[in-house]
C-alpha cells in the first residue's frame, strides 16, 4: 500500500509539474499586454518605452522565462504563491478568502448530485421502461444538455423579478453567518449538482441494470429478501464502483463549471476570481489558480482510487 501511495504521489507530482510548465508557457505566449489593465487605456497609450521597461521590471516580467518559472516554483514551495500584478494582494490571501466559498459550492454540488442522481438511478433501474424511468431519463438528458451558467442566470432573474431577491453581494463565510452563507452557495451548488446528478443517475441506472441480472441477486430474491434490502445490501455496493469513478471525473466538471456558474450567480468565489484575472491578464493569479484546480483534481482522483479497496475487498494495492 505504501509503495502504491508513493508511486501515485510521484505520478501526481509529475502531472502537476507538467501542468505548471504548460500554464506558465501558455500564459506567456498568449497575445495581449497586461499593462493595458494596469495603466488603463489612456495611460497605456501615453506610456514611453522607458516607462514600459521600468514597469515590466517592477512586475518581475523582464527576467528570463526560466528564472521566472524557477521563482514561481520556489514561491509555491514556500507556500507564498506570489503576488497579483494588481493591487499587490497575495494569491495566498485570495485563496484563503475565496477558497472556502468555492469549496462549499463544490462539496454541496457533489452531495446534491448523489442525493438526486442515485435515487433516480435506482428507481429507473428497478422499474425499467416505466413512466418514472422515462421521465427520469428525459430529465437527466435535459440537465446534461442545459449549460449551468444559463440555468443560473434564469434562476437569478426569476428570483429577482418574482420575489425582488438577490443573494448577498459580498462573501459571508459559514462561520460568520450560516444563513447568509447558505444563500450565497445554494444556487450554484444546486445548478452544478443537478448537471452532475444527471450523469450519476444514468451511470447508476446502467450499472444496476447489469448487477440485478447477476446470479447473486436472483439468489437473494429466491431467498425471499425484501426488494429494498436486495438493492441496498446486495446490488448497490456492487454497482457503486463505476459511479464513484465517475464522481471523481465529475468533480473536474464541477471545478470547471463553477467558473461560469459563479459568474452567473455573482458569487465572489475562486471561479470568478479566475475569470477576472484572465480578463485582466493577471498571469500570476491565473497560473496559481489553474495549478490549484489541477492539484485538487489529481488529489480527488487518488482518493477515488484508494476508495476502491475500501468498497471492494477483492482489490488490493501492493
Amino acid at each position: 500500500m505504501r509503495k502504491y501511495l508513493a508511486r501515485r504521489a510521484a505520478y501526481a507530482a509529475v502531472t502537476l509539474l507538467g501542468v505548471s510548465l504548460s500554464v506558465f508557457v501558455i500564459l506567456r505566449i498568449l497575445p495581449g499586454d497586461p499593462l493595458v489593465a494596469i495603466l488603463g487605456v489612456e495611460g497605456h497609450a501615453r506610456m514611453t518605452p522607458a516607462d514600459r521597461v521600468r514597469i515590466m521590471a517592477d512586475l518581475g516580467l523582464s527576467d528570463p522565462l526560466p528564472v521566472q518559472y524557477a521563482r514561481w516554483l520556489v514561491d509555491i514551495a514556500a507556500g507564498e504563491l506570489g503576488k497579483s500584478f494588481f493591487r499587490g494582494d497575495t494569491v495566498a490571501e485570495l485563496i484563503l478568502h475565496r477558497g472556502p466559498i468555492s469549496a462549499e459550492i463544490g462539496i454541496l454540488a457533489l452531495v446534491v448530485s448523489w442525493l438526486v442522481g442515485l435515487p433516480v438511478g435506482i428507481l429507473s433501474a428497478f422499474k425499467p421502461n416505466s413512466i418514472p424511468d422515462g421521465l427520469a431519463r428525459a430529465m437527466s438528458v435535459l440537465f446534461i444538455a442545459i449549460p449551468g451558467f444559463w440555468l443560473g442566470m434564469l434562476i437569478v432573474l426569476a428570483l429577482l423579478f418574482w420575489f425582488g431577491y438577490k443573494a448577498p453581494i459580498i462573501i459571508v463565510h459559514f462561520w460568520q453567518d450560516p444563513w447568509q452563507n447558505l444563500q450565497i452557495v445554494i444556487g450554484p451548488a444546486v445548478v452544478l449538482g443537478l448537471a452532475q446528478g444527471a450523469y450519476i443517475a444514468r451511470m447508476s441506472r446502467s450499472c444496476l441494470l447489469e448487477v440485478i441480472g447477476e446470479d447473486f441477486v436472483r439468489t437473494a430474491r429466491a431467498k425471499g429478501l425484501r426488494e429494498g434490502l436486495i438493492v441496498m445490501r446486495h446490488a448497490l455496493p456492487n454497482a457503486l464502483l463505476p459511479v464513484i469513478t465517475i464522481s471523481g471525473v465529475l468533480l473536474g466538471f464541477v471545478l470547471g463549471g463553477s467558473v461560469a456558474v459563479e459568474q452567473a450567480f455573482g458569487v465572489p468565489g475562486l471561479g470568478r476570481a479566475l475569470v477576472t484575472a484572465v480578463i485582466e491578464r493577471d498571469i500570476i493569479v491565473v497560473q496559481n489558480l489553474v495549478l490549484l484546480y489541477a492539484a485538487i483534481f489529481v488529489l480527488v482522483n487518488v482518493l477515488v482510487d484508494l476508495s476502491y479497496a475500501w468498497l471492494d475487498p477483492r482489490i488490493r494495492y501492493s
Binding site: 497575445p31 495581449g32 499586454d33 497586461p34 493595458v36 489593465a37 494596469i38 495603466l39 488603463g40 487605456v41 489612456e42 495611460g43 497605456h44 497609450a45 501615453r46 506610456m47 514611453t48 522607458a50 516607462d51 521600468r54 514597469i55 517592477d58 494588481f86 493591487r87 499587490g88 494582494d89 485570495l94 478568502h97 442566470m153 437569478v156 432573474l157 429577482l160 425582488g164 431577491y165 438577490k166 448577498p168 453581494i169 459580498i170 462573501i171 455573482g266 465572489p268 470568478r272 476570481a273 477576472t276 480578463i279 485582466e280 491578464r281
Partner: protein
C-alpha cells in the same frame, strides 16, 4: 475653522470709516456693473454646504465599476479608481455637485489669475489635516502637481499633457502657491484641469516614501470627507466619516460602502433592484428602464466624455489613406440605427468629432441636418458612393481586417457596420474579435485596417481631444492621421483665450474633420444612474462625465 484668514484688528466702525467704505463700495458697484459678467463656469464663493433640512447619519451603499487595477488615482484613467477612492481625497478646485459643471473652491478657497493668463495663484485653506494627522500645506500641492506635470520614470499619468505649459510651481508661503505658465492657456481649460477629479492632493511625504509610485499603496492619506476602514478586493471598499473634515458639517453620512461590479451587467442591475445597494452607476439600459418605473426610485441619464469609434489605418491600407474613401465610410454610417442596435446593451447618443453636448461643438439640431447624421441616410449614401467612385473605388474594397474589441457593444456594432459598408459601398471586411489588451496591442502596432473601440478624454475640452485623439503624434490617433491645416487650427484652439474666437475655431476644426475624418465616430456614451429616493443631495442629470463629482460629502439619507 474659518475658510478665510481672520482679521485681528478691531471691528469698531466710526463715521469716517463708514463714509469711506460706503464710497469705495459704491464705486466698486459702478465698476462691477460695467465689467463683463463673470464666467458662470466658476464661482469662488460656492464652497459646498449641506442642503437645508439635510440629516446626518446612515450608511450609503454605492455600486460602481469593477475594482481598481491599482491604487494610484493620478496614474489611473478609470472610474474603478475614482469611484471608491475619490471620497477620501480633495482637489485644489472642484466641480459643484449641484450641477457638475461650475468650478468652485475646494482646498483652495480663492484663486487669482493674472491678466495675461500666465500666473495662477491659489490661496489654500488653513487648518486642513491629512487623515494621518499631518498638516496640509502648499508643499503638498507642489509635490502633487510636480508629479502630475512631470512624472518620474515608470509613472504614467494621463493628465500630464493638461499641464504641459506649467513652468515653475512656486510655494509663496505655506498657504499660497503659484503656477507660472510658460505660455497662456484658456482659463476654462486650465481651471477645468485644476478641478479635475483625478488631480487629488496627496502628501509630499507619501510620494517621497514611495518613490513617486502609489500603484500598490492602498491607503495613502488624503484630506477628504471619508477615511479608509477596510477593503475586500473586487468586493467592497468601506469608508467612515472623517470627523476632522475641514468643511464643518460635512460629510453627512457616517459610512460609505462602495461595491464593485462590472458596468452594464445584470448583476449590477440586480443588486439595485433587489435593494442590496442604494445607488448604482453605469447601469445597463434594461435595468435603468425598470428602475425608472419603480416607485421610490429615481433614474438619471447624463453625458460621458467617451467616444465610440472605429479607426481606419492610413499607413497600412492605401485606399483608407484617401480622404474621400474615409469620408465615404463616415457618410455610409446610419448612426441612429447604430444607437438603436445597442439600446439594450449600453446607452448611447449620436455625435460627431467633438462631444455633441459641449458648448463649443455644433449643436445637436444643427448636426443632425448634416450628411452623415440625418435619420434618412439616402442623401449621405449617394454622396458616399460618388466619393468612392471619384477615388477610384466605385467597385468597392475587399478583405479589410476589422479588429473588434471583445465587448458586447463593439461586437454588435461591428456586425452592423460590416453590413452597412457592404450594402452602401460594397466594402467587405472580415471581423476579428480580440481581448481588450490584444486590441490595444494591435491598434498601436498598426495591425488592422479597421478597428473599433472607445476612448475617453481626460478633460471635457476640445483642446484635449484635438491633441490626444487627432493630434499628429496623439497617443490615441490609431489611424496615423495627419492634416497640417487641422493641426494648425488645433494649435490656435489651444492658445486662444477669447471664448468666442475659440468657439469659431472649434467649429472650423469640426468642418475640417468632417471632410478628412481621422476616425469614424459611431456614438457617444451616456451614463445611467439610479438610486432609491432616500438618497438625497445629488442628481447627476447635468453632470459632464463620471470623474469630477464623486465625493459624496453633500449626500444625505432621508
Amino acid at each position: 475653522m474659518s475658510d478665510y484668514p481672520s482679521d485681528s484688528r478691531s471691528s469698531r466702525l466710526d463715521r469716517r470709516t463708514f463714509l469711506k467704505r460706503t464710497g469705495v463700495a459704491g464705486a466698486a458697484a459702478v465698476v462691477a456693473a460695467r465689467l463683463p459678467a463673470p464666467v458662470p463656469a466658476s464661482a469662488q464663493d460656492m464652497t459646498v454646504r449641506p442642503e437645508a433640512g439635510a440629516k446626518r447619519g446612515g450608511t450609503l451603499r454605492y455600486a460602481v465599476h469593477n475594482a481598481p487595477a491599482h491604487f494610484d488615482v493620478h496614474q489611473s484613467g478609470t472610474v474603478a479608481n475614482i469611484g471608491p477612492q475619490s471620497p477620501m481625497y480633495d482637489t485644489l478646485l472642484r466641480r459643484s455637485p449641484k450641477d457638475g459643471q461650475t468650478i468652485i473652491p475646494d482646498l483652495a478657497w480663492k484663486w487669482d489669475i493674472s491678466p495675461d493668463n500666465r500666473k495662477y495663484t491659489f490661496h489654500l485653506r488653513k487648518g486642513v489635516k491629512f487623515h494621518d494627522g499631518a498638516d496640509f500645506t502648499a508643499a503638498d500641492v507642489k509635490a502633487t502637481y510636480e508629479r502630475i506635470a512631470r512624472p518620474p520614470k515608470g509613472v504614467v499619468i494621463p493628465r500630464t499633457p493638461l499641464f504641459a505649459t506649467v513652468g515653475d510651481i512656486v510655494v509663496v508661503d505655506p498657504h499660497t502657491i503659484e503656477f507660472r505658465m510658460t505660455e497662456p492657456r484658456p482659463k476654462a481649460y486650465m481651471l477645468g484641469a485644476f478641478a479635475s477629479g483625478w488631480n487629488i492632493i496627496v502628501r509630499k511625504k507619501t510620494l517621497e516614501e514611495n518613490q513617486g509610485n502609489l500603484r500598490q499603496v492602498m491607503n495613502y492619506p488624503g484630506t477628504g470627507p471619508f477615511k479608509h476602514v477596510s477593503r475586500k478586493d473586487k468586493e467592497v471598499w468601506i469608508m467612515e466619516r472623517n470627523p476632522g473634515y475641514w468643511n464643518k458639517g460635512l460629510p453627512l453620512i457616517d459610512r460609505l460602502e462602495v461595491y464593485h461590479f462590472l458596468p452594464f451587467t445584470p448583476e449590477l442591475g440586480a443588486s439595485l433592484l433587489s435593494g442590496r445597494v442604494d445607488y448604482a452607476r453605469l447601469l445597463d439600459p434594461v435595468t435603468w428602464r425598470k428602475a425608472r418605473e419603480m416607485k421610490g426610485v429615481t433614474a438619471a441619464a447624463f453625458n460621458q466624455s467617451v467616444i465610440q469609434a472605429f479607426w481606419t489605418n492610413m499607413q497600412k491600407n492605401k485606399a483608407l489613406a484617401d480622404r474621400r474613401v474615409r469620408r465615404a465610410i463616415h457618410l455610409a454610417m446610419d448612426r441612429h440605427t447604430l444607437v438603436e442596435v445597442v439600446k439594450d446593451t449600453a446607452p448611447m447618443q449620436v455625435g460627431g468629432f467633438v462631444y455633441p453636448f459641449h458648448e463649443m461643438s455644433t449643436p445637436r439640431a444643427e448636426l443632425e441636418k448634416k450628411l452623415g447624421y440625418q435619420r434618412d441616410v439616402t442623401p449621405a449614401v449617394q454622396e458616399a458612393r460618388r466619393l468612392m467612385k471619384e477615388a477610384g473605388y466605385g467597385g468597392g474594397i475587399k478583405n479589410l481586417d476589422f479588429v473588434v474589441r471583445d465587448i458586447p457593444t463593439f461586437k454588435l456594432w461591428a456586425v452592423a457596420i460590416q453590413a452597412m459598408l457592404k450594402e452602401h459601398l460594397n466594402i467587405e471586411c472580415n471581423l476579428r474579435v480580440v481581448q481588450t489588451s490584444v486590441w490595444f496591442d494591435e491598434a498601436q502596432a498598426g495591425n488592422f485596417d479597421l478597428a473599433i473601440s472607445a476612448i475617453v478624454s481626460t478633460l471635457m475640452d476640445p483642446s484635449d481631444i484635438f491633441s490626444a485623439w487627432y493630434g499628429k503624434d496623439g497617443p490615441q490617433n490609431y489611424s496615423r492621421w495627419t492634416n497640417p491645416a487641422f493641426h494648425d487650427v488645433a494649435s490656435q484652439v489651444e492658445r486662444e483665450i477669447d471664448d468666442n474666437k475659440r468657439k469659431q475655431l472649434v467649429r472650423k476644426a469640426e468642418d475640417m474633420l468632417e471632410q478628412d475624418p481621422p476616425l469614424i465616430p459611431v456614438a457617444y456614451e451616456q451614463i445611467y444612474d439610479a438610486w432609491y429616493n432616500k438618497v438625497r443631495g445629488q442628481n447627476p442629470s447635468t453632470y459632464f462625465g463620471i470623474y469630477d463629482v464623486v465625493r459624496w460629502d453633500q449626500v444625505w439619507l432621508a
